[in-house]
Amino acid sequence: MERVLKIENLRTYFHMDEGVARAVDGVSLSVEKKRTLGLVGESGCGKSITALSILRLVPSPPGRIAGGSITLAGEDILSLPEVRMRDIRGKLASMIFQEPMTSLNPVFTIGNQVEEAVRMHTQMTGKGARRIALEYLAKVGIPAAHERMGQYPHQLSGGMKQRVMIAMALCLKPALLIADEPTTALDVTIQAGILRLMKDMQEETESAILLITHDLGVIAEMADDVAVMYAGKIVETGPCEEIFTSFLHPYTEGLFQSLPGRTPRGQKLYTIAGNVPSALQFQKACCRFNPRCPLAIERCRVEEPPLVVIGPAHRCACWVRAGEGPL
């Protein structure tokens, strides 16, 4: 299988007045062609920063990619000059954001904006760009696309806007699509439609998708593989089905238990005690989940667990559940 994205030991730090925030601290993951990797975790665990790092969009200063490597379709992203990077964004890898309501420029028509996305990377003239824009707007299910092209973002619903964003992101058939919580801001009824659309479009463009979400329902529907992230690190990763049926890490377990459907009616919903620590307070040399972990032992407080191989593609970092190596 063709590997589109490979991240190894990525570390993205923010140098603040209060100290260094290690928002992403040693993340490794890879996505293959036509496959979808779901990146799950609570707010503030570093999911979005990982995504921004791939496109080198981390605001700098204060942000800085401190180490590791990112290989996207054979290109070593971290060593490219900025000019080359602009070619890659939108053409090799593009991104859909969480807020469709504000992701389109309010003063231009949607047709104009999709055309602009096409024209930014091709030598295409107005007419050619227009044709592609129209084609993709129709493909993402905008009814009466021809008339809609002349409309402004405020004339479209949230779901429609997200469809336009998808058209903009995919009109040049990028190898990788990064979707940062693409359905979080949408109604549940519309969510399903958008997710299906992303799957259909993936068939067509053969893109790999890196799907960032905190919604395990979305993961179940979309992802082939899952990576669970906590406090800047991957704690468990594996094929979607395996993670859903035989998760190991106590944090993954906590996430599943927190799903409303798991708790009998009338009882209080389960929550993982405490919060994700601020990135400034991530400690070194321990399991970062230990203060919230019900299973924590002494070793969790003094030594960091490695990501050990559990199954063919299943890896987990936990002293209690995974230990030092294969069982």
Binding site: L57, S94, M95, T102, S103, L104, N105, P106, M149
Partner: protein
């Protein structure tokens, strides 16, 4: 359905009767200014001359020997009554010049003073404001330093200094007014750029591979442009009126250029003699233009502001 900005804006403005009236008045004034720009060649004993405009040939009246009230047939000089050479709708001033003609000559000056400095000031404000807001860091520091120094010098002093260095004339006045009045707008644009550059659509455009230039001028500029329009509509009236003030302190347009300011100022010699029509004529013209502009601008602003636009 698919309608351009302009279409929607025009539709909106047409609904407002006062704005339409204002627009008509502005058009009338603009026509006068235009007539005062187009030369009307004429031939006399000395050959061809090009220094008269169409307006001159239409409205210029012979200078009388004394002042006369509106529509008077006769006037008095040294207690002797005499017949005027022609009828003066708004009378003649203390020097015997036709007030209507003077007022009409002031229209072109008013338009130039109201518009040209705004274009100059907007250019500076947009370029510096965008750069300062977008790049931040030392670029921002330098630009802020420049405009803080500029704004700490009393504007009128700076104007007088500039006009003293340059030759006196309407275009020099425009440059001086433009260069001294961009600071306020620049601050606004810088602030708005700081806000807009963090909007998701800018981030989204960057994620699609947009360059800095594209982000600045295609994504951010259109979203701060409403500030320029608002500033222009607010400042136009002020600039037209500032011409009067500058004329008063002796740094206005050169003599020989039409000027409502000079007409109003001659009131200090005229009012004691009961000559009210010169002051009134100039004031009515000034008032009409400013009012018409404000009525129109108010609606135009709303119509063009994308953030106020509704489906």
């Amino acid at each position: 359905m698919a309608e351009s900005h302009l279409h929607i804006a025009i539709k909106r403005i047409r609904k407002e009767k006062l704005a339409v009236a204002g627009f008509c008045v502005i058009c009338l004034f603009a026509l006068i200014a235009l007539l005062d720009t187009v030369p009307a060649p004429y031939r006399d004993a000395g050959g061809m001359h090009f220094n008269r405009t169409v307006l001159d040939t239409l409205f210029q009246k012979p200078v009388e020997r004394s002042y006369s009230p509106p529509l008077a047939r006769t006037a008095t000089l040294n207690r002797k009554e005499f017949t005027l050479k022609s009828t003066h709708v708004l009378g003649t001033n203390i020097l015997g010049e036709d007030v209507l003609y003077d007022a009409l000559k002031g229209v072109r000056t008013a338009f130039i003073i109201g518009i040209v400095p705004l274009i100059i000031a907007s250019f500076f404000a947009v370029v510096f404001g965008l750069l300062a807001g977008y790049y931040g860091g030392w670029v921002d520091d330098v630009i802020q330093y420049v405009y803080q120094v500029l704004s700490s010098i009393p504007g009128i002093l700076l104007l007088i200094a500039m006009l003293t260095v340059m030759e006196r004339g309407i275009w020099q006045l425009c440059i001086a007014l433009g260069v001294t009045s961009w600071v306020g707008l620049c601050r606004l644009i810088r602030g708005e750029t700081l806000k807009v550059k963090n909007m998701e659509y800018v981030e989204a455009a960057r994620a699609l591979g947009a360059s800095d230039g594209h982000l600045l001028f295609r994504q951010i500029l259109p979203n701060v442009m409403y500030l320029v329009i608002i500033e222009m509509t607010l400042d136009f009236s002020g600039l037209v009126m500032s011409e009067a003030v500058l004329t008063y302190i002796g740094v206005g347009v050169e003599p020989g250029t039409g000027s409502w300011g000079r007409m109003i100022l001659s009131a200090d010699r005229e009012l004691p003699n009961g000559i009210w029509w010169n002051l009134t004529g100039a004031s009515i013209f000034l008032f009409l233009l400013v009012l018409a502009f404000n009525l129109f601008a108010d609606v135009l602003r709303d119509a063009l502001d994308p953030r106020l636009r509704k489906g």
